[in-house]
Amino acid sequence: MALRAAVLRHIRLPVQTLTAAGSRPQPQWSFLRLFSSHDDHLTKEEVIDRVLDVVKSFPKVDPSKVAPDVHFQKDLGLDSLDNVEIVMALEEEFKLEIPDKEADKIDSCNLAIEYIYNHPMAG
């Protein structure tokens, strides 16, 4: 019995991992529900869509000029205080808490999308 217990303790099954870190399952597996909370990071398209929606609904912004690579102050003609307001709106949208120093550096849609996509707690 002790031998059996010892053998069972040391047998390991080979583990199958996903293809790349954070990659979603293939479309034909979309009926497969993932109950783990580790794979539900946002996709880049979702992040881009939501960020652009937030920026477009800002009252001082012209929605037709918004693209994923606009600079808030240079391309959209906004103020630095407007920049602060946009970052706050993004924080509310994604339920993030961005430290003051980091929030100061977010100047364009590009940086915002990068930061949010790489944030582990982005909702």
Binding site: M1, A2, A5, R9, S80, L81, N83, V84, E85, V87, M88, K95, L96, E97, D100, A103, D104, M121
Partner: protein, 118 residues
């Protein structure tokens, strides 16, 4: 101590002041959201706050700007909310360190109480 004489030092000081102003505006806006939870009240108060900042936008003298920033920060300190909303997973929030990662190297033996002489 008079103001900085070289252009680079002047610009550096202005840039530092602008950063202080931005951070102050950010904190004041968050505080306004903490106090005025209902959205229509928040928009009202936020535009009032913006007016206050815009009124002093064209000041050029470095020392006056410093004094104004110090006065603004004092007002902000006076009006800070005692129970601000913090995102749950951030320090100070409700979910912070709720489920810490278990230390590595610990292995749970699932023997369900089975004894050696079974």
């Amino acid at each position: 101590m008079s103001g900085a004489t070289t252009a680079a030092a002047y610009l550096a000081r202005r840039a530092a002041q602008k950063e202080r102003v931005r951070i102050l505006y950010r904190r004041a806006l968050k505080d306004t959201l903490n106090w005025a939870v209902h959205r229509h009240l928040f928009y009202q108060d936020a535009s009032d706050l913006r007016e206050k900042f815009e009124a002093n936008k064209h000041v050029e003298d470095l020392d006056t700007i410093d004094k104004m920033i110090a006065a603004g920060e004092a007002t902000y300190d006076k009006w800070r909310h005692p129970d601000p909303y913090i995102v749950p997973w951030a320090p100070g929030g409700s979910k912070f360190t709720r489920n810490p990662v278990p230390p590595s190297g610990i292995e749970i033996v699932y023997d369900y109480g089975r004894e050696e002489n079974d």
